[in-house]
Symmetry: C2
Subunit: 297 residues, 2 copies
Amino acid sequence: VGVGAVGGLYGARLAGAGYPVRFVARSDAAHLRQHGLVLESPWGDLQIGEPDVYDDPRQVPVSDIVIVALKTTENERLPSLLGPMLGPQTSVVFLQNGLGIEEGQRGALGDRALLGGLCFVCSNKVGPGHVRHLDYGRVVLAADRDRAEVASAVADDFTAAGIPASVEDDLALARWKKLVWNVPFNGLSVVLDALPQDVLADPHGRSLVAELMSDVQRGALACGKKIDDDFLTTMIDDTVAMRPYLTSMKLDFDSGRPMEVEAIFGNPVRAARAEGVELAAIDALYRQLAYLDAHRR
Amino acid sequence: VGVGAVGGLYGARLAGAGYPVRFVARSDAAHLRQHGLVLESPWGDLQIGEPDVYDDPRQVPVSDIVIVALKTTENERLPSLLGPMLGPQTSVVFLQNGLGIEEGQRGALGDRALLGGLCFVCSNKVGPGHVRHLDYGRVVLAADRDRAEVASAVADDFTAAGIPASVEDDLALARWKKLVWNVPFNGLSVVLDALPQDVLADPHGRSLVAELMSDVQRGALACGKKIDDDFLTTMIDDTVAMRPYLTSMKLDFDSGRPMEVEAIFGNPVRAARAEGVELAAIDALYRQLAYLDAHRR
């Protein structure tokens, strides 16, 4: 569900490996039917000539796995969107950043297996049905309850399709760890109009990054999840080594699209606050972004 | 010294009232000589047809009062700039925002009377030798040591020239109180690309303002200066009532000119830190602005 930078990349890989993938697209549906799905990727370029495309999600038959690759700003629409494709045995994988994703959908999805899929990837949609995968691409999968066997099965399928995938047993910890990158670099790229590398190359920028990462670490700890200092250092080193890349939030902002402010910033602030811990640096950035989100659109 | 939005307004008022004002201008000197100084103002429009203009400050004779109306980003140049116009009895008035202004010049200026002049004014330079004064305009004068008689004399001259002026006896307190407005509205206008009124009309924006004002209040208290809560409320109410106005920092940023980041943000953070108090909200905004200042120019 969603054929953008993330859904287009992983969907093309899975379809290219022979998996029966149903693509639920909105604006690009007609283009996908006519011209197929084009993926440029360091893993090999792919062209899915005749993807199985649906523009009306109610037409999608019951499916084994539903992969949600929409932005979290659309999650309110999910219950009505997913309805008919969900059978009693269907599992749902959320390829989305942020906190509180599975919890937010649990009410509508009952006791189905819900998985988080954290994508460490540089990928952009550069046109209708056209995705440019630039770098990285690893997916970390984790189930939000005791459904590790489903996470393993999905990881196996991803791996068979040439997608580096692994399973972690603590979804909340995995989501907090992903925020160590997303909070500083998504947020500052918008407010400072900058690439992640530019931010790190400036002493003031680097100190803002360090403060935000440390807030994520404190928030995780407040929620019972420990992130080592080494992990923060690694995230910074990896980012310096990364090829220059406009974050998805910066691309959304520049295009006047909604930014994922609540999932990536608001939810961790509130989760820590519920445990009595204030994340002042993230909270200030959250409110700046919420302002910009409301006024840019 | 400096014929911009502030120097042009107050210089024109003083010259118009018959005071012998010497205007030290840089880029506008030739224009001022040819076309004079034009002031549009709710206090009455003024045209100073033949202002006494100097482009080389070393040509300015020794003067009774030197009024510095440059941006604080130029203060490093002041010692060499002011040299020849300073006699032993000359007093210097800094019409500048921020903290640490007089302290920063004390070494070069000896035991002359140094005054801070805080301008509560909406004024823009709209072209060479052309200032548009929009609203307000009150000047609060205070001497940085026990030279209240000089502050009173300058306030009398300002008043005689139709400029609402008053004297306060605590310069540091007056400078901290001015920061209650400058820190949130100068800073957020740049980062959020917004007018002060827009920021206050948004719940996230208003909460950012409240947090920054409270940081200024805590910083002042750390330095032994008490600002009442009522003063913060008044600043917010006055700003809501103010006519829409792009802050000077926003105008500087939009034009690629240096912003007064150190005087208005860095100095209060360091002053409070020296007393063992961290102003985290101001510090984060300081580093964002320092980044933007370095990368915009």
